[in-house]
């Protein structure tokens, strides 16, 4: 069995196991936890496509999340469009914004901290715009009326949402699996590791990075649309604020960048942590950010390859007994 087949089998197993959770338990707390962990996985996985595989560290992925969320809400409220039809519009809209930002930044060769700053700035610009124009509801935000029915992509139980977001996560995992085993992924990682060397052997870095930001943004848009369906509310702070951007990158970095399962692990670990601390400290505002920061520092120092790299580094320690001299 090749590694690609093993990964596909892993994804299938994951889909079946998580998909069965609502059949096993009716506990709202458990279902809510699994659903939110999957949602965190989705945004971590989306960030991982551009950041982990492409080496382009975005600090403003909320830009795509918020765009997806607003399109999902506005299409229903002002366009009278069914939520299921709005979803692909939200995904496409977010992808377009991604392509636009990518075309601007990659055309001028922005990378590293400059790319991070520009993405952060774009998200902030959109946040302020969303606060000041009318069709986003300004500071009041947008409320999507509650009309519980599967036809409206609104569910009475968390189970329905869980299955929807699971489908999105599985799709993101399949894309990641394709990145790990296909030409486009090989090119993307080559550009991440050394852009000049990649160019010398025939890779067009601009096109590769542009495609990556488009795909990454599309999944962020899906996450934004999902958020609106679950909470029936969106405002500028939630949509374009830094919280989502930070959550996406921290989960991916903690879990292990450029890996298939790293973002899943990272999202679950962080989610467990923030739930635990919420129980310990109550709803202390910003406590989860403090925890994220601490965990990030610890992980970067002790586990630079993330939680997914843990098994690997233990193995390396074991075999490094002989000692390398370089």
């Amino acid at each position: 069995m090749s590694s690609a087949h093993r990964q596909l089998a892993g994804i299938a197993l994951f889909a079946v196991l998580v998909g069965c959770v609502p059949l096993v338990t009716k506990s709202g707390v458990t279902l809510n936890f699994v659903m939110m962990a999957l949602y965190a996985t989705l945004i971590a996985q989306a960030w991982n496509i551009l950041g982990g595989f492409g080496g382009q560290f975005s600090f403003g992925h909320a830009l795509f999340f918020g765009t997806g969320a607003y399109i999902q809400a506005i299409a229903q409220l002002q366009g009278g469009i069914n939520a299921w039809v709005a979803l692909p519009l939200a995904v496409a809209g977010a992808a377009l914004v991604g392509l636009f930002v990518g075309a601007l930044t990659f055309r001028y060769g922005l990378k590293d901290s400059y790319f991070a700053l520009v993405t952060l700035a774009f998200a902030e610009v959109f946040r302020i715009l969303a606060l000041s124009v009318n069709f986003t509801g300004g500071g009041v935000g947008l409320m999507v009326p509650l009309r519980e029915s599967a036809a409206n992509l609104q569910f009475a139980s968390r189970a329905g949402y869980l299955w929807v977001v699971l489908a999105m996560v599985v799709l993101a995992l399949l894309v990641t699996c394709w990145l790990r085993n296909g030409r486009f992924g090989a090119y993307l990682q080559a550009v991440r590791d050394n852009e000049d060397a990649a160019r010398a052997v025939g890779v067009n870095p601009f096109r590769v990075k542009l495609a990556a930001i488009g795909i990454s943004a599309a999944f962020m848009g899906a996450a934004g649309a999902f958020y609106v369906q679950v909470f029936q509310y969106i405002d500028a702070g939630i949509a374009y604020g830094p919280a989502v951007s930070v959550e996406a990158l921290v989960a991916a970095i903690v879990g292990g960048m450029g890996t298939l399962w790293g973002p899943v692990l990272g999202a679950v670990v962080l989610h467990l942590l923030s739930d635990l601390t919420r129980n310990l400290f109550g709803e202390l505002p910003g406590i989860n950010m403090v925890i994220y920061g601490t965990v990030l520092v610890v992980i970067v120092i002790f586990l630079p390859r993330g939680v997914a790299g843990l098994g690997l580094s233990v193995r390396q320690l074991w075999s490094a007994k002989g000692g390398r001299h370089d």
Partner: protein
């Protein structure tokens, strides 16, 4: 007579006040193995960058396989069949040797399995087969030089621009690497190499260009250029050629 595979005409490029390459013209015949030599800072690597598209020339033209490719992007040149390597090796450090070479192989092979298989065949040719599954970061300097060569070779180039593939290797490693380069040329790939290791230039190259302070000062067979006064003086300083001759004739007398 057929047109040269690579023809460079009047190529110039400055960086601020420094004229790195001035009015260089040369043409590389299809199927040849030739070398570009010159003292440090002569502009050899800049010339390579101008040919392969990493830098745009201020003046002059580059023609490859009958097309004007002046200032064209390197990835498009690679698709046409011109691939360069780097003096300062640039491995994709996080990936295995096999994956590194496969990136080059993907230029003409979409499928992952075919690219990986081609990578393995290339590794065999350059003597990297035992290291295929190691991360590129674990390779020695000699190994990285081979990897640089292998990755370029995997793109199935018509013209290979090798930038000091022998630099930093010990004599034994050089002796191992020379037949590899010879083998590549014998398989029909045109090779132009920048090289400081004169032993290799004398053994391998059919034709040599000498660059000093951005200008071509001599060309010809290895024996011709090494006995050229201007070349000797470029390496050893002004007036050296005359002094050496005097010393030699003094010994004879």
């Amino acid at each position: 007579m057929t047109e040269a595979l690579l023809a460079v005409g009047g190529l110039s490029r400055s960086f601020g006040g420094l004229k790195a390459v001035q009015d260089v013209s040369l043409s590389v015949k299809e199927g040849s193995l030739s070398a570009l030599i010159g003292p440090n800072g002569a502009g050899k690597t800049t010339l390579f960058a101008l040919m392969s598209g990493f830098l745009k020339p201020d003046a002059g033209s580059v023609r490859f396989a009958g097309q004007d490719i002046t200032g064209r992007e390197p990835h498009r040149n690679a698709l046409l069949g011109m691939t360069r390597t780097f003096q300062i090796v640039k491995p994709f450090a996080a990936q295995t040797v096999r994956e590194n070479i496969a990136v080059g192989a993907h230029l003409h092979q979409r499928g992952r399995r075919e690219a990986l298989a081609h990578a393995e065949a290339i590794a065999l040719r350059v003597g990297l087969a035992p290291q295929l599954d190691k991360p590129a970061s674990d390779l020695t300097v000699a190994g990285r030089k081979r990897l640089e060569l292998a990755r370029a070779l995997a793109t199935r180039p018509r013209l290979l621009l090798l930038d000091e593939v022998l630099a930093g290797l010990n004599p034994q490693e050089i002796a191992e690497m020379m037949p590899v380069v010879r083998g590549i040329a014998d398989s029909g790939v045109t090779v132009l190499m920048i090289e400081h290791v004169m032993q290799a230039v004398m053994h391998l190259a059919e034709h040599v260009w000498v660059l000093a302070q951005g200008q071509l000062i001599a060309e010809g067979s290895p024996a011709q250029v090494t006995s050229d006064d201007k070349v000797v003086e470029a390496y050893l300083g002004h007036g050296t050629a005359a002094r050496l001759r005097k010393a030699a004739s003094g010994v004879q007398a």
